[in-house]
């Protein structure tokens, strides 16, 4: 039987991930099956691509069912809809069950599209891990690694070829030349050390919605990077008119107000780097989120100076995300772009609303930067 479904699966996955045939993406429906893992219910995401056809609209249709109930009594949700008991409906959000998202799936998909840009092996503390992998089969080796199946097969092959094989008395005797051994290879795995410094503007001009967006974006970046890189340090700085370092928890939950002096955050970040993260040893990634409203032009000049002279040379990449807000002028992003037009290390991204978060993460961490 022809085994070729893998091709079709590969093709399908590539479409789902938007690598090819982008025009099909709008037909992707995210359905799910509800499975059980121990006592917990888990959602198994089943992306499907609906080929558009002339079909009836959804709700006007109705149907025929079977079972108890008076006229007018409602069917349970999900009943009367497409699919069966084994197959969930294809409309998102119609289940009442609490479900988890499969993080593996998410990470797998994200992982294909995202990475830390310009990450380099750095520092004396760099650990070179060795990984042993059995990759091939060879003619010599210790007896403990003998590959019995291959040895036997080789012997069988030789005996058949030489005519020594007798089907009535199928006796296979491997000789020395038949022996096969597993071979391994050491694969060095350089591990890079990296620190990510998140900075967030928590001043009054940032509304709740804007802060929410920043938190969401930072949360996802953080979660993803943590899952991907072992030696990643993260530091969190919040600032209004003054900056202070906080822990992760506080960073994601603070609500403050006040003026905005961006340079305060950059100064604090620099101090952190000086104290602990020698740029020769560490990959440094500052992320700064703000609505782009700085207190004064003077401070912006100071920021540019700090960036130009200290922060950017020390960093691999400097990422600036600007959230749109009613009050913010968004001037800071323009200033940055003007001053760092030629600088590849500066990545800026505008985040208009929650839907733009994914795109913005890709701006920062997308491949090919």
């Amino acid at each position: 039987m022809a085994q070729k479904i893998e091709q079709d699966i590969g093709r399908f996955r590539e479409i789902i991930r938007g690598r090819i045939k982008k025009e099909l993406r709008k037909f992707i429906t995210s359905s799910e099956m509800i499975g059980k893992k121990g006592k917990e219910l888990v959602s198994i995401p089943i992306p499907r691509i609906d080929i558009p056809r002339f079909v009836y609209g959804d709700k006007q249709q109705g149907g025929v069912g079977q079972g108890e109930g008076e006229e007018g009594s409602p069917l349970a949700r999900g009943e009367g809809e497409e699919g069966g008991s084994q197959q969930a409906g294809n409309m998102p959000g119609q289940h009442l069950l609490e479900v988890e998202i499969s993080f593996d799936e998410l990470a797998e998909i994200l992982g294909e599209e995202l990475e830390l840009p310009k990450i380099e092996p750095k520092g004396q503390e760099e650990i070179v891990a060795k990984k042993t992998k059995y990759t091939s089969v060879g003619l010599s080796g210790p007896e403990s690694l003998k590959h019995f199946k291959r040895t036997y097969r080789q012997a069988l092959r030789r005996q058949i070829m030489s005519g020594a094989y007798d089907p009535k008395n199928p006796l296979i005797v491997p000789i020395r030349e038949d022996r096969r051994y597993r071979m391994w290879k050491d694969e060095p795995k350089p591990e890079a050390k990296a620190v990510i410094i998140y900075m967030m503007d928590v001043s009054g001009s940032m509304g709740n919605e804007q802060k929410e967006i920043v938190r969401l974006e930072a949360f996802w970046i953080d979660t993803w990077l943590k899952s991907q890189y072992k030696n990643v340090d993260t530091r969190f700085i919040i600032h209004d008119a003054v900056a202070r370092e906080v822990d992760r928890e506080t960073f994601f939950h603070t609500r403050e107000s006040g003026g905005t002096i961006i340079s305060s955050a950059y100064k604090l970040a620099l101090k952190l780097i000086e104290d602990k993260y020698n740029p020769a040893m560490w990959n440094i990634y500052p992320f700064h989120f703000s609505d782009g409203d700085n207190w004064s032009g003077n401070d912006t000049d100071e920021c540019i100076k700090l960036l130009k002279e200290d922060l950017i040379p020390a960093s691999n990449v400097f990422c600036y995300g600007q959230v749109e807000s009613e009050y913010g002028s968004g001037q800071f992003m323009k200033d940055l772009e003007e001053n760092f037009k030629e600088e590849e290390k500066v990545i800026t991204s505008k985040i208009a609303n929650k839907d733009a978060i994914v795109g913005s993460i890709k701006d920062f961490l997308g491949k090919g930067k």
Binding site: M1, A2, Q3, K4, I5, Q7, D8, I9, G10, R11, F12, R13, I15, I20, K21, L24, F27, M33, G35, K36, I44, I46, R48, I49, D50, I51, P52, R53, F54, V55, Y56, G57, D58, K59, Q60, Q61, G62, G63, V64, G65, Q66, G67, E68, G69, E70, E71, G72, S73, P74, L75, A76, R77, E79, G80, E81, G84, S85, Q86, Q87
Partner: protein
């Protein structure tokens, strides 16, 4: 993998029982597959040899995930072909294998004898292989993306075929138009003498002739002559396509037609198979120790899904009902007109015609005629059938009615055209600009608009010129139109 000796023995045994029951089938080739292979074959619609396409991968992902999480399992799969191919899951227990075999023989009997399958290609296994070879060839020659895009466009319109065309051979001249047009004028009857003319050709006669001619001309101008349900066929004959595109369109149309009878007889076919697997198992094949397992799996097959119809259940119950009615003589004028309910409930004329009748039914009916003829008010009541509808105010589906007529009507509506809207080509030269015009025969339910628009995009791609469809949106007649660049809505 071929059958193991044990399974081979089982097969011979079950085949014997099947013949005893009067089933008549093509030879059956069983293959034993592990779950990966089975899912793979199932993704390909039962044919291991399909052309490459992403949707098979999609099906596979769903099936294998569903299997891996223990949510569903494919027990049985059987292909309408001569010989019939059927697949067994390697990991199944003996009871399951028996049940599946019995089930399969009944399906094969149905394929062979039901009249709606009479025109299907019984060498489809080979044909599918040919399709694969051809399409793979095109992929190699024109590139995967190009070919796949075209296949996607064709799939989007593969429901636009004439579902009865398989059984009715309709001839159509392939794109041949008379090259020299003969201009016809009203012919006067010749009398030879001028003074007779006004008696031979009175004015109203001439007028009538002129009218007839006019109509004839109009008919000729219509293209197609009458609305054509087989849109795919129309496109093959008249669309501006490359040779390979025409070939792919034909291939997909052929496959669509091949699968139609199975959709047309889903309820009957499954009902038939369940009827006979339970007959064979309970009367013959089952050992005492296997009873519980059998009962478990059988009840799983026919359990009504909550609030929905299970075709296995509906089918087998109807067959049983028919058998009982014809055994007891509960049909015909006398029975229908009897108004004494007690007498009716006790009615039994010991005719014993039941078995004969169901064999006749399996030969001559499809789901629609089956339901239309044999669904009775008593049956609906016993089976607790109901219709449901969507209630806008509560955002829920609710039980709408338990009235017999409504249930029947709803069932028939669902089955008509397999739940697809009825659509024909009415004009291949719309606006006299070579545009395509389809017409949706509105039966009270609107088209899903976003899908309709995208389907128009596909149509436009295949037709090569703008595509339009006449339909009704929320009570207002409209023509949805796509000209290759933008979607428009026009008033007809």
């Amino acid at each position: 993998m071929n059958l193991t000796p044990d399974l081979q023995k089982l097969k011979d045994e079950i085949e014997g029982y099947a013949r005893e029951c009067g089933l008549d089938f093509f030879p059956v080739v069983f293959e034993v597959l592990d779950w990966k292979e089975l899912n793979e074959v199932a993704s390909y619609g039962g044919f291991p040899n399909r052309y490459p396409h992403w949707r098979f991968g999609m099906e596979y992902e769903q099936l294998s995930k569903s299997y891996a999480w223990g949510l569903s399992k494919i027990y049985e799969m059987v292909i309408n072909n001569d010989p019939c191919y059927a697949y067994l899951l390697y990991a199944n227990g003996i009871v399951d294998q028996k049940l599946v075999m019995a089930h399969v023989y009944a399906h094969c009997d149905f394929f062979k004898n039901n009249i709606y399958f009479a025109h299907t290609n019984r060498k489809m296994m080979d044909e599918m292989g040919n399709h694969r070879t051809k399409i793979t060839g095109y992929v190699n020659r024109y590139g995967q993306d190009v070919v796949e895009d075209f296949i996607d466009a064709c799939l989007s319109i593969d429901s636009l075929i004439d579902h009865h065309a398989a059984a009715i051979r309709r001839t159509r001249v392939r794109g041949d138009e008379p090259s020299v047009e003969e201009i016809k004028i009203v012919q006067r009857l010749k009398g030879g003498r001028p003074y007779l003319d006004k008696y031979l050709n009175p004015d109203d006669f001439l007028e009538e002739q002129a009218k007839k001619l006019e109509e004839e001309r109009k008919r000729e101008r219509n293209f197609p002559e009458s609305p054509e349900r087989d849109v795919m066929g129309f496109l093959i004959a008249h669309a501006q396509l490359e040779k390979w595109q025409r070939d792919i369109l034909s291939i997909l149309r052929e496959e669509s037609y091949y699968f139609i009878p199975q959709a047309q007889t889903k309820i009957m076919n499954e009902g038939w198979a369940v009827f006979f697997h339970s007959l064979i198992m309970t009367r013959r094949a089952l050992k005492d120790s296997e009873l519980i397992d059998y009962a478990d799996h059988h009840s799983g097959t026919v359990s009504p899904y909550p609030g929905r119809l299970n075709p296995y259940k509906l089918g087998v119950e109807l067959f049983k009902n028919i058998e009982e009615r014809w055994d007891k003589g509960r049909f015909g004028k006398e029975y229908d007109e009897c108004e004494n309910m007690v007498e009716k409930a006790r009615w039994d004329k010991n005719l014993g015609l039941g078995r004969k009748k169901i064999f006749e039914v399996r030969k001559l009916y499809n789901d629609i005629t089956f339901i239309d003829e044999f669904l009775t008010p008593e049956f609906c009541r016993d089976q607790k059938l109901f219709t449901f509808a969507y209630n806008q105010s509560s955002d829920m589906y609710e039980i709408a009615s338990r009235e017999f007529q409504k249930i029947k009507q709803q069932l028939l509506f669902q089955l008509t055209n397999f739940g697809y809207p009825i659509i024909s080509v009415v004009d291949g030269n719309y606006k006299n600009r070579g545009e395509l015009l389809l017409k949706h025969y509105h039966e009270g339910v609107d088209l899903k608009e976003d899908y309709a628009k995208e389907t128009l995009t596909s149509l436009c791609k295949v037709w090569g010129r703008p595509a339009n469809i006449e339909t009704i949106v929320e009570g207002v007649p409209k023509i949805l139109s796509f000209d290759g660049e933008e979607h428009k809505e026009l008033r007809p």
